[in-house]
Symmetry: C2
Subunit: 435 residues, 2 copies
Amino acid sequence: MKHIRVGLIGFGTVGSGLARTLFEQQERLRRKVGTDIVLARVADININALPDQFSNVILSRDANDIFADPTIDIVVELIGGIEPARSFILKAIAGGKHVVTANKALLSIHGREIFDAAVAKGVEVGFEASVGGGIPVIKSLKEGLVANRIEAIQGIMNGTANYILTQMTDHGTPFAEVLKDAQAKGFAEADPTYDVEGIDTAHKLAILMTIAYGLHVKLDDITVEGISSIRPIDIDFAREFGYRIKLLAISRNHGDHVEARVHPTMVPVDHMLANINGAFNAIQFTGDTVGDVLLYGLGAGMMPTGSAVAADVVDIGRDIIAGSINRVPALSYLPQYIGEPAITPMSRLTCPYYFRVTALDQPGVLSTISGIFGKYCISIKSVMQKGRRSDEPVHIVFRSHRASEEAVMQAVAEIDALACCTDPTIKIRILVEDN
Amino acid sequence: MKHIRVGLIGFGTVGSGLARTLFEQQERLRRKVGTDIVLARVADININALPDQFSNVILSRDANDIFADPTIDIVVELIGGIEPARSFILKAIAGGKHVVTANKALLSIHGREIFDAAVAKGVEVGFEASVGGGIPVIKSLKEGLVANRIEAIQGIMNGTANYILTQMTDHGTPFAEVLKDAQAKGFAEADPTYDVEGIDTAHKLAILMTIAYGLHVKLDDITVEGISSIRPIDIDFAREFGYRIKLLAISRNHGDHVEARVHPTMVPVDHMLANINGAFNAIQFTGDTVGDVLLYGLGAGMMPTGSAVAADVVDIGRDIIAGSINRVPALSYLPQYIGEPAITPMSRLTCPYYFRVTALDQPGVLSTISGIFGKYCISIKSVMQKGRRSDEPVHIVFRSHRASEEAVMQAVAEIDALACCTDPTIKIRILVEDN
């Protein structure tokens, strides 16, 4: 039987994880697939030699060497970023090669161009590793839940942000300090913006929404708030109220419009997502047939991500052997049935809210702020103030009943304009299952 | 494009769930698969008519009508039990029809015969619904984790048992009372033996082990203990020690031998499996590449199970359309590579233990029992006695450090033979991740 020959662009963390996986699992894969999956070529501009175990692999600095090799069946792109990743993938597709990528940023921005090109050329694009690292999220959604209308997606999709929030929760350490420590330990990037500001989570949500709903959802469709403004005091209040703060991706399917948002969320402690700690990810789908299904595991890292990339390589390899290319459409729905999304405006959302107002401790402040909430029909469930020290501004915490996002935006703007308010008000949405 | 035509044997709970799913999701499936998945025939000896929405479906009392119809591509067996399910499936296979089943009891006993017949005939057997209801457990294991040596399987695989334990934990209600209530509410069968005695869980573990390791594991290979001897007092002690009691399926892969056991287990409260409540299932795989992956959802029920059966039907339908039958081997490994298991003898296990000894409250009892533990080198971590009332036997609870199962069996036998011991000693294994 024909061997499946793989060309890998990018021998960084995930790339070397894939190489190791294909090497270590070679015999196992042969016993499952019936042929060898061979890493034949690697292209990387940063390395001069491959580790000894890969002595049969041809290394070059130029990805074009892979595209030019007619024996390569599958090109794996693991360099990340937009360019030259985009051009490499389009070139591979143009050359009739199948593609596997973990590049969520690229797919959430240029996905349509890439998938259209692949359909036109009759090749496959695998991207299991783009969401949830080693967790088989994409396959479960596309195939396992095929007979479901997906009603909702909720998840913790960024291990770095979740690690930071977990450390803040367990040890009361401030955000900046945990981040610095995480960077020193290699758990967070030198530039952590994508992770802590929710952008990486939004990349992933765009991909999941596209598959779940059959809609071309892009990064720009998603409202994103990060965790950098969360303070230990918010976490303490959350605990007191029976919540944990998590950076959630949330989408709900309202039929003619779909929610698309990433923001810190107060999750009831007895909810599965409240109990996902450290660098772990968890993604929950609600299907009309299956109910809630949650998938949990390591969302990043050399070997877990390598596991997902290898699974895509095997999947495509099986289609090559069986002559069943694009047996499952890349985006779950056949291309002609994928539409444009109507995104629910954030102003139309309603949910209970947590507000932390920072104000000078003056007489009448509470009444003024409460008055503003009242004016916008935001019904307050409880008010709390802690650690009063007359020489510093105080934190006043309000919990509301269900309120509309539009009213909340207006109320917060008016509160923040008060002379007595010294810092922007922090608002955190509280998770309720039916909103 | 050719339609995929399905014949369904058994229009009970899951069968009617499948029929509803195929009906309700018809348009969605057409947009994903490119053709119609048609429920063409139903055979059921217990019904005289199908609901109105299925007016195009031919109902008969004889499953042979399905086998005799040359237009039927896939036979779905949902009658459960061993016979006539086994004969029906073999007959369908012999007729060149693909088979989908949720019948874990059958597969864990006669799986080899069925899979061998299917391989010989070149047809597929789908059984996603046999484990974890609607959760895509089998597909995730076979395809998503394809590039992994599976090191361990741990899971809560029976919703009835987990519901009973959860009720006992949350409300302190005795087993018999919760069971009776669950039966009244339809959460437990009239004969609950399979569910509460761990047999159903063992069926599922046998199936997962077969796929995970490439070994023909049968029900008989698995050591099974149920939950009927658990009392609220054990749950209280567990809570005090930081555990919750769960009925776990556990298998660990030691290379030349594999563990295979189902028993009540004390799970540390911060472990994911401790927090799976009610009728939910959760199955955790540990892979050498991916680490821990856990899949969570409803493990039973009309619609969730229907979702999994429908996913199998679609999967096989896609292979029919693409001409890629048995693109993925039914048991993950190609048939020629599946071996016979060497099961770790229970006597070779070691783990920490919880013991509840029931004894008359006489002077010297504690010393006698402690002496027996010492004699068998079982090192005791703590001893507790609660609710002493002189007119009744008392419960003395011991927690041991890691001890060997063999020593424990001998010690418990010797303790239970003491004149002062009025009831058999309850022993519950404590979950540690490295045993």
